[in-house]
């Protein structure tokens, strides 16, 4: 007889062995969780299912806008649609990772979170902003591991101009442990400091209580360093005790040597795979960037222990991020290959994370899309007339480093102030003044009339109006007109006496003002 305990152990060993075998053999029979499996089950609970998959035409527009903040050109659409490979969507995504716009657009998102902005209320000077942005962009371009990225920012010391990651704490208008704790918490844990109990918040601040700042002889240069003797420091004078006790937000404790930089102690805990929030917060952000809603909302100031629409999905994504060695692109790949991402956008509100949400283009993305039409570019202004703040019109808005450098268009369309580093600062609602600009401003009307897109369409119109019409649709909306739309346009052209310049202007104007142009969908 085998003892019951041993039988259990044996079964467990067998089970583990067989699981390992199956996994090694990549057997399709293994009940491996997938995004689509989890989301489908959640939808099925409400008697619903995933929407029909989008066409390749719609997929390329969607993935270009989500990864590059840019619509695909007609040539890019052609190249993708002509690819016979069944792996063409995955190949497309790999190619987009290498595009400069991918690094630009991700840096824009990080700029919002990290408050990359010249004074005021941020404390950065324009050249510190440029240095910081360049550092972030390089990290995104080279796909720096997310753990290394976070560690560098948390532990960064040195000059704001020469050691860009030292700006992480410098941006804050108030320099006290509570402000540092808030910034770290919302950036890397996705938790609002106000929702932590007072003791936990205070303990979190202690890791940053030795942060110190000093001026140099250079105008607006500042050195960030760790001062072991900082007044109000957690430890007091380093020699006073043999060890210092710290408590992490999850309640675990550590005894650190008095000489240890508590920021490093904290970074070790933060980037550990066992950290219950670090990977989840980032996975949740990527989900919200791609699908339009976080699985946990808000993505940055969530309540500790607050509801997660799908803990299972967050677990799965967070684990994937950890298992990939903190590779953000691996997580992108996973989501972008899912049917959940590639389903049609229509659908009801619940559960909100389970659909691709229709949402207005970001101010910067819209500015760039209109630049393609008008060729005019943005008249950027900076409140600080310093070197590094004069940005030429041709500069794409998604590549702007500095939240203080702006244009009336970007302000009107809700570019975030970057004052608080929260996702909610970006306003992508459509307002009356935005519609006034789009429908009736002289600037946009003249831009359409005199811009490169119309000239290209007019050149095509000489060889046949169908080509011109298709070109306008594909350039502006990333697809060909439906038969019904073609008939509507045909009737309009007929009334106007053919594909005249004015008639094409009218059509381009209508498409620019259409919901489809203004929204990702």
């Amino acid at each position: 007889m085998i003892a019951p305990g041993k039988a259990t152990s044996l079964c467990l060993v067998l089970l583990l062995w067989s699981l390992g075998y199956w996994a090694a053999a990549q057997s399709s029979q293994a009940p491996k969780p997938t995004i689509d499996g989890i989301v489908s089950r959640a939808l099925a609970a409400g008697g619903k299912s995933l929407n029909a998959p989008v066409s390749d035409e719609a997929y390329i527009s969607r993935v270009y806008l989500d990864l590059l903040g840019t619509r695909p050109t007609v040539a890019e659409q052609d190249a993708f649609l002509a690819d016979p490979s069944p792996e063409r969507r995955a190949k497309l995504v790999e190619g987009l990772f290498l595009r400069p716009e991918f690094a630009d657009y991700l840096s824009l998102k990080w700029g919002d979170i990290l408050r990359v902005k010249s004074e005021y209320p941020s404390n950065l000077w324009p050249n510190a902003v440029q240095a910081y942005h360049q550092w972030i962009r390089e990290a995104m371009r080279t796909n720096l591991g997310y753990d290394k990225f976070a560690r560098a920012l948390i532990t960064g010391s040195g000059s704001d101009f020469r050691d860009p990651e030292s700006n992480f704490f410098r941006v804050l208008p108030s320099r006290d442990p509570a402000s540092f704790a808030r910034h770290v918490s919302q950036t890397f844990l996705g938790l609002g400091l106000d929702y932590l109990d007072a003791g936990t918040a205070t303990e979190l601040g202690r890791f940053f209580s030795r942060l110190a700042f000093k001026r140099s002889m250079e105008w607006k240069e500042e050195i960030v360093y760790t001062d072991p003797l900082a007044p109000g420091s957690a430890a007091g004078p380093a020699s006073a005790s043999t060890s210092v006790s710290y408590r992490f937000p999850d309640g675990s404790r550590i005894e650190a040597s008095p000489g240890a930089d508590p920021r490093i102690v904290f970074a070790d805990w933060l980037c550990s795979p066992a950290n219950p929030w670090f990977a989840r917060a980032m996975a949740n952000r990527i989900w919200s960037w791609l699908l339009g809603t976080g699985i946990r909302e808000p993505v940055d100031e969530a309540r500790l222990g607050g509801p997660e629409a799908s803990p299972e999905l967050l677990d799965f994504l967070a684990k994937a991020l950890v298992d990939s060695g903190w590779d953000l692109r691996a997580l992108y790949r996973l989501v972008l290959a899912s049917q959940t991402y590639a389903q049609e956008s229509r659908g009801d509100a619940e559960p909100s994370y389970a659909r691709y949400r229709i949402r207005r283009l970001d101010a910067e993305v819209l500015a760039d899309a209109l630049y393609r039409v008008t060729g005019k570019g943005e008249a950027y202004v900076s409140p600080i007339p310093e070197p590094f703040t004069f940005i030429p019109k041709e500069n794409r808005s998604i590549s702007l480093a500095d939240g203080s450098i702006t244009s009336s268009f970007l302000v009107k369309f809700g570019r975030p102030s970057r004052d608080r580093g929260l996702a909610s600062e970006r306003n992508s609602k459509v307002s009356v003044d935005q519609e006034l600009y789009l429908l009736n401003s002289s600037a946009l009307r003249q831009g359409i009339e005199q811009g490169p897109l119309l000239a290209e369409a007019l050149a095509l119109a000489k060889t046949g109006k169908a080509g011109a019409l298709s070109y306008l649709y594909r350039s502006l909306l990333g697809r060909r007109p439906s038969p019904a739309e073609a008939a509507t346009v045909e009737a309009y052209l007929k009334r106007k006496g053919g594909p005249s310049r004015q008639a094409l202007v009218d059509i381009a104007w209508a498409l620019v003002n259409s919901t489809e142009f203004l929204f990702r969908h």
Binding site: P173, N440, S442, T515
Partner: protein, 429 residues
């Protein structure tokens, strides 16, 4: 002692017999609107409302001849003769102070009344007024309740934590041009028939909008577009059509961008808009200060005096507060050396602000600076005192709760008791 009492009694008799003064003894009815003339860059106190002719050449430069106003004892700078003729209509605060010489911090304090910091960005006065006198509280005008002529301030987000609903409507365009092309409202060269035709085309081609009309984001966009069309095709936009004014009126305000912006502001207030800001750029005079002043003083003098008198003639001055001032003043000691060549730097220790209308008493001077306009001599006035007084005149509790999306308990202005100084401007209210 007896003499003083007698004098006071006589004065009392005098007051009782003067209808003008008598009217001011009761609390004035609440003001309805504000025109803020934001002197972007920081205007010099010495060359506007606090001249110091005796301070010596290093302080006065060539401007040594201040002029008497129509109020005995009040002199203002020599570049403002028209304003000197109507000093009984406005109060001068000569002891404004906050101590900051940085544009960003100073502008924030002067526009919000709060010290920076605490991870919170307060809304500007315009956004506060928009919150309490705009769409949330019965304002029904098609023109948004907070209008900025013609460029946005840009130093910080005017709406602060109140959010985009309280953001100003920024006109763009230039009111001094033949057509004041307010962005999106007034389009040159499009007739109504063409507009209607385009609108119909857009409706028929908006496939996604129609297919997903129930989506909340799309429904909101379509509603905004409907409102925009109503503005474009409606009457409300005529408020910006300065050609409806007589040539004489337009001339009186001065045929320049600032003067015509003052005229546009008057029209907006007449139409019921509660808060109008004129962003008047060009006062950051580090270099060749006096050359700039020679050029710009006439523009300022003409536009501001015409605005005050025109509002008065239309019986709107009592209900409209005009607030003139920048983020700070300028350094009294002149930098003669290159590259400044007679320039003045930023100065937040003491500077001047002007208040007219809306129940503020004219012909008064509040506080004083020292002999060289370098420090407050008497009655320091802090940003919260100034902004709190304006709110009080508008019937908005300056220490009342400021509802906010952060869910925090915040007040419109810091309490009077919280800081130094004597609080709100009771002496001119």
């Amino acid at each position: 002692m007896k003499r003083t009492k007698l004098a006071l009694a006589l004065l009392g008799l005098l007051v009782a017999q003067s209808p003008r003064l008598q009217a001011q003894t009761g609390p004035a009815p609440a003001a309805k609107a504000v025109i803020q003339i934001w002197m972007w860059g920081g205007p010099s106190q010495l060359e506007t409302f606090d001249p110091k002719p005796g301070a010596g050449y290093d302080y006065t430069g060539p401007w040594t001849k201040p002029i008497a106003t129509n109020v005995p004892g009040i002199e203002i700078a020599q570049g403002l003769p028209l304003l000197a003729g109507i000093a009984d209509r406005y109060a001068i605060i000569r002891s404004m102070t906050h101590g900051s010489n940085a544009h960003e911090t100073a502008a924030y304090m002067m526009q919000t009344g709060h010290e920076p910091g605490g991870g919170i960005v307060y809304p500007s006065l315009g956004a506060i007024v928009s919150r309490f006198k705009g769409y949330d509280n019965g304002y029904t005008g098609q023109i948004p309740p907070y209008v900025v002529l013609t460029e946005s301030q840009g130093r910080f987000s005017e709406e602060g934590f109140l959010g985009p609903r309280y953001k100003p409507f920024v006109t763009g365009g230039d009111p001094a041009k033949k057509v004041f092309a307010v962005e999106g409202l007034v389009a040159e060269g499009v007739d109504e028939a063409g507009l209607a035709e385009r609108r119909a085309l857009l409706e028929s081609l908006d496939s996604l909008g129609k297919a997903q009309a129930a989506d909340p984001a799309i429904a909101e966009a379509r509603a905004a577009a409907g409102d925009a069309w109503a503005l474009v095709t409606g009457e409300a936009k005529k408020v910006f059509d300065l050609s409806l004014e007589t040539e004489a009126t337009r001339d009186r305000y001065g045929r320049n961008s600032f003067g015509q912006a003052c005229l546009a502001a008057r029209r907006l207030v007449e139409a019921g808009v509660p808060y109008v800001t004129i962003n008047y750029k060009g006062w950051d005079t580090h270099k060749e200060h006096f050359g700039v002043l020679d050029k710009k003083s006439g523009e300022l003098d003409t536009g501001l005096s015409a605005l005050i008198l025109d509002l008065e003639a239309r019986k709107l001055l009592d209900s409209t507060i005009i607030w003139w001032g920048g983020e700070f003043g300028r350094t009294p000691k002149i930098a003669w050396e290159a590259p400044w060549n007679g320039g003045r730097s930023h100065y937040g220790a003491v500077f001047s602000v002007l208040l007219a209308g809306g129940g503020f008493k004219g012909g008064r001077v509040v506080g004083s600076s020292d002999a060289r306009a370098e420090a407050v001599a008497t009655r320091p006035v802090y940003p919260r005192d100034l902004l709190g007084s304006i709110l009080e005149r508008l019937g908005i509790d300056p220490e009342g709760a400021l509802p906010n999306p952060l869910g925090l308990e915040l007040k419109t202005m810091p309490s009077q008791g919280e800081g130094p100084g004597k609080g709100r401007l009771k002496e001119i209210m």
